[in-house]
């Protein structure tokens, strides 16, 4: 039926009685036909609506995971809109959540299993049956496993679906088969840098945004909240209305910057130097919070000059005592406290035994020369006078001084984004930020926090369920190392021959670094590649078999991650189109072919019910029965959730460890790390995007990406409504730079470097810092006139952070003259 054939609706006053799919029977199969239900009440004046409202969740990885009311009419999804939270301050949606219908009915959906008919990457396909697809995949996997070991089969998954069951099912199968995995190495600078100071409470953790209203000064570091996390902007706006001062530190003048009381333009990749300099001022003017430092940080801990390790009581001849048994190892722990200096007796004493240990100084104890951890931090900060830091960051001296004073005028919240860490030096801005929060005492109370957008996973699910068939012990290979492993046939000195790759919830050809290297060294080399996706992505096009997997609203799932600290239910709202199947069905078929059927229950609902059975689930009233009432269930206690309120951190010492005794790499790839560099926050130049890099003469522009409001990574690529608003790839440039190149607004330009190129329409825009270019990320390659953005990025990585450095990129740009 076309729109014009639909009979004209009566728009006079009346009440529509919409059928709730939950009330209609509380089963996920309630009706995907969506016919009006006789069960609904009806009055003589109000016609019964044919609409059914299901509960859904917006599940791409923008970090939000917003609950949706999903309207189904005559078996078709016709609208997605915001569903209410039990606490209305969380209610939200964005333009992307409003037009999910287009993702379901997008023209690029994969509707049946397909097998490559031409060369790999040629995008020629033949339709095959599910039986053919499953039998070929199972046969290949089994063959590789038998000949090259189970570790020759690799899985590769990123994000794009916030449900628990599809990932859960795959984890079970791949655990049982002992697949190797590709580690995606995304945005680890925040995690490594800050969590080494505060401990690992989650990959990206801070107080929730509802706490911003309690802050007096809010620093936002490289976080484009108004585009990338629209759903949290209102918390910032509320805080501003309550009197908070908003300070935005960013190379780009974002919509958020336009709302700020103070916009501080900073040279990309220099945030660590600015923070070290702010600490320089704070320390020089004695604005530190000595009480907080003494109680909750390692500031007074003595550090040995010779080893760089904390001076422990055992170094002074005091034997360690036996601590409680570690439940993980079953072995008794050893308690060997750190020594601090008691200035009133001029002697070392055990930590936390005196009220005012020395925060600063050099001492000798038992013949061992030591300094306090704070003295070491201070020595590092001393190097970054505002005058010197100003030359690094391109921030005026007086602004650095002003920022330092604002940072001690609490409560202060530092909200950090993923910009400062997108360079090869990206651990250190967050190590420095954690240190600054520690010495200013701006942690663990209302309005006092340092951290990224809080992104959390409810940890109380019955996750043992996914390990039913065993946990994989095969290698975890960083995506940047994958080409080397394939080329050398070794990993960490041991043989490893990747033969197959199974990709689900991911589009690495589009989103991962150095697309040309990825294609040449991975996608042209691995013998057998399968991609399961709902859309024909760049990655699917480089596969041998493409499996059509269901979209969010086509199967039932539960979502327990995101920024809201709620668990939400996603009903099955409609049937999948064509021959599309949910990932759970795909796993079941693979499991049956491979002899693992017994690991999976007959229905998804059984699994979901079991997954929500645990003490932690019970404690928050979470069960299948309660969640399927349709109201999101909170797991983080009262609002606002404030991190570290008890002042106990998840570090070895329980304190904020701005001095890191034993720094480690995020992921062991057999690399060596510079221990001494990692012990304190440092500034060092990034790998590529820096003016003194000789390469800058050839490629003068730092190329930064942004996460625009018109897509999430490569998702929504073919969403027609969003493409009306944002039809083609664009790149932004400052007018002065554009003029120097002779470009006009709207010209097609080609950004290029030694790794590749990308063509986009030029937006001449004063928001862009001279010397930089900014592009909205992740257009599919066929949407570019030539090249793709990911061709320009690099796989070089820092051995500690082990991260894809998406902005550590230099390019030049020229007018596009045509061609591929």
């Amino acid at each position: 039926m076309s729109n014009t054939e639909i009979s004209k609706m009566n728009v006079s006053r009346r009440t529509f009685l919409k059928t709730s799919a939950i009330a209609a029977g509380s089963t996920w199969l309630a009706s995907s036909l969506g016919c009006s239900s006789g069960a609904s009440s009806e009055t003589d004046t109000a016609p019964v609506s044919a609409d059914q409202i299901f509960k859904g969740v917006c599940r791409p990885n923008c970090f939000a995971g917003c609950p949706l009311d999903v309207t189904v009419r005559e078996g078709k999804l016709v609208k997605t809109a915001a569903a209410d939270y039990p606490d209305p301050q969380f209610n939200r949606i964005c333009l992307r959540g409003m037009c999910q219908v287009d993702n379901v009915y997008a023209t690029e959906r994969v509707l049946y299993p397909m097998k490559r008919a031409g060369e790999r990457g040629e995008d020629k396909w033949e339709q095959i049956t599910w039986e053919e697809a499953i039998s070929e995949i199972a046969e290949k996997w089994q063959g590789y496993s038998d000949e090259f070991g189970p570790e020759s089969n690799f899985k590769y998954t990123i994000s794009g679906n916030y449900g628990v069951i599809n990932g859960g099912f795959y984890d079970t199968l791949f655990g049982a088969m002992n697949f190797s995995s590709v580690d995606i190495c995304l945005d680890m600078g925040n995690a490594v840098g800050f969590n080494r100071v505060a401990g690992w409470a989650g990959i990206w953790c801070s107080s929730e945004a509802a706490d911003l209203v309690n802050a007096k000064n809010i620093f936002v570091w490289g976080n484009n909240i108004t585009d990338a996390q629209i759903h949290e902007w209102h918390f910032v706006a509320d805080a501003k209305e309550a009197g908070a001062k908003l300070i935005v530190i960013d190379p780009t003048f974002t919509q958020l910057a336009a709302k700020a009381d103070m916009f501080v333009s900073i040279r990309p990749a220099s945030d660590a130097a600015l923070i070290l300099s702010m600490m320089n001022v704070i320390i020089a003017e004695d604005l530190i919070d000595k009480d907080y430092m003494t109680k909750h940080t390692v500031a007074p801990f003595l550090v040995r000059d010779d080893t760089g390790m904390f001076l422990r009581m055992s170094d002074l001849g005091v034997a360690p005592t036996e601590g409680p048994v570690n439940p993980a190892t079953g072995e008794a722990t050893e308690i060997d406290p750190v020594a601090v200096w008691n200035p009133s007796t001029n002697a070392v004493v055990v930590q936390d035994s005196v009220e005012a240990p020395a925060l600063e100084g050099s001492f000798t104890a038992n013949g061992i020369a030591c300094k306090t951890a704070f003295t070491l931090l201070k020595a590092e900060c001393d190097k970054y006078t505002p005058e010197y830091a100003s030359t690094i960051c391109d921030v005026p001296v007086e602004i650095i001084n002003e920022l330092a004073h604002l940072a001690v005028d609490g409560p202060v919240t530092h909200r950090v984004g993923w910009g400062p860490q997108a360079y090869n030096n990206g651990v250190h801005p967050h190590h420095a930020g954690g240190a600054m929060a520690a010495i200013t005492g701006m942690m663990g109370d209302n309005g006092k926090c340092y951290g990224p957008a809080n992104w959390d996973i409810f940890s109380g699910f019955n996750t043992a369920l996914t390990a039913k068939g065993g946990v994989a012990t095969s290698p975890k290979v960083a995506v940047m190392e994958l080409p080397n492993v394939i080329e050398s046939g070794t990993f960490k000195g041991e043989p490893l021959v990747p033969k197959s790759l199974y990709i689900y919830m991911g589009n690495p050809v589009n989103t991962a670094s150095d697309a040309n290297r990825m294609i040449e060294k991975v996608f042209k080399k691995i013998e057998f590649i399968v991609t399961a996706d709902s859309v024909m992505t760049d990655t699917a096009r480089w596969s041998d078999i493409v499996l059509p997997s269901a979209q969010f609203f086509e199967y039932e799932d539960v979502c327990g991650r995101g920024q809201d600290n709620f668990i939400k239910w996603n009903q099955k709202c409609i049937d999948p189109p064509g021959e599309v199947k949910p990932d759970t069905e795909i796993v079941r078929m693979l499991a049956e072919a491979l002899g693992f059927s017994d690991l999976f229950p007959a229905t998804d609902q059984e699994w979901l019910a079991e997954y929500m059975k645990s003490d932690a689930c019970e404690a928050i009233g979470l069960s299948y029965e309660t969640l399927s009432q349709g109201v999101p269930i909170r797991y983080a206690g009262e609002v606002p959730m404030v991190r570290w309120r008890d002042g106990v951190f998840l570090t070895a010492s329980g304190k904020m460890e701005f001095y890191v005794e034993k720094p480690t790499a995020f992921l062991d790839q057999g690399q060596t790390i510079d221990i001494e560099r990692e012990r304190l926050p440092r500034f060092f130049e990034p790998n590529e995007a820096w003016p003194t890099n000789p390469l800058a003469a050839q490629y003068p522009y730092v190329l930064m990406s942004e996460r625009p409001r018109f897509r999430v990574h490569s998702q929504y690529a073919y969403n027609k409504i969003l493409r009306e608003l944002d039809p083609e790839p664009t790149v932004k440039m400052n007018p002065a730079d554009a003029a120097s190149k002779g470009f006009e607004n709207g010209d097609y330009v080609e950004c290029f470097n030694d790794r590749g190129h990308a063509v986009a329409k030029l937006s001449v825009n004063d928001a862009i810092r001279p010397g930089t270019m900014v592009y909205p990320k992740s257009w599919e390659s066929k949407q570019h006139l030539a090249g793709t953005w990911s061709e320009l990025t690099s796989m070089v990585y820092d051995p500690v952070m082990v991260n894809q450095n998406f902005m550590d990129v230099l390019v030049d740009v020229k007018s596009y003259e045509g061609g591929n």
Partner: protein, 208 residues
């Protein structure tokens, strides 16, 4: 006192995200390339581009749709009374069944771009999307924002107000001092109606 429906858009909260424009498009099942509500960058015709020289910049935005004027320029020029003011609440309506597509209203309206002449509405999805009771789209007629009349008549807020994630919009009876819209207007540090010099007296206020 008569009901006078109006809207407030808070410039200090609007971040040009486009959720309201998309909500409007979806709720009203607007045909391809038709938008009744759009984001206006007050500083530049370029999206997200500020005024000034880096880094001394400023940028502000609001959204623009039919202003539902007290004295609408469109109503008096309509030869067939397809454009009319609803007596009960002051909404300016456009009746697709009467409109002859002469576009006189389009020329008369001082608010450029708020109405669209739709020659032949086309959709990229071949079934009706959006609100069940959204008005029909008729070929060869002029369309515009109705303040989501179909939603108001079902006691719901206009889609752009209901779904604004910034809480930048308020809607209600301007004549009722207890309404959200009146309260927000009363507490605004500054308020502005677009193109007051035209004498149209819009029911949409841009505040702060």
């Amino acid at each position: 006192m008569t009901v006078k429906l109006g809207m407030v858009i808070d410039r200090s909260r609007c971040v040009a995200c486009g959720t309201c424009t998309t909500a409007c498009k979806v709720a009203n099942n607007l045909s391809d390339d038709v938008w009744w509500n759009r984001v206006v960058n007050e500083m530049s015709t370029e999206r997200d581009a500020p005024e000034g020289t880096y880094p001394n910049l400023k940028m502000s935005t609001h959204t623009l749709a039919c202003q539902h004027c007290e004295n609408p320029a469109c109503v008096s020029v309509c030869p067939v009374e397809a454009t009319y003011k609803r007596e009960e609440d002051g909404i300016v309506m456009q009746d697709g069944s009467l409109c002859i597509g002469c576009k006189l209203c389009l020329d008369a309206c001082p608010y450029t771009g708020v109405r669209t002449f739709v020659e032949e509405p086309k959709w990229h999805i071949d079934f009706k999307m959006g609100d069940e009771n959204a008005a029909e789209h008729v070929a060869g007629t002029v369309e515009k924002c109705t303040f989501c009349a179909h939603r108001i008549d079902s006691d719901e807020s206009p889609a752009c107000v209901k779904y604004c994630p910034a809480r930048a919009r308020a809607f209600g009876d301007l004549n009722d001092p207890e309404s959200d819209v009146a309260k927000k207007l009363a507490s605004a540090s500054k308020k502005e109606q677009l193109k007051v010099e035209e004498g149209t007296s819009p029911s949409v206020f841009i505040i702060n």
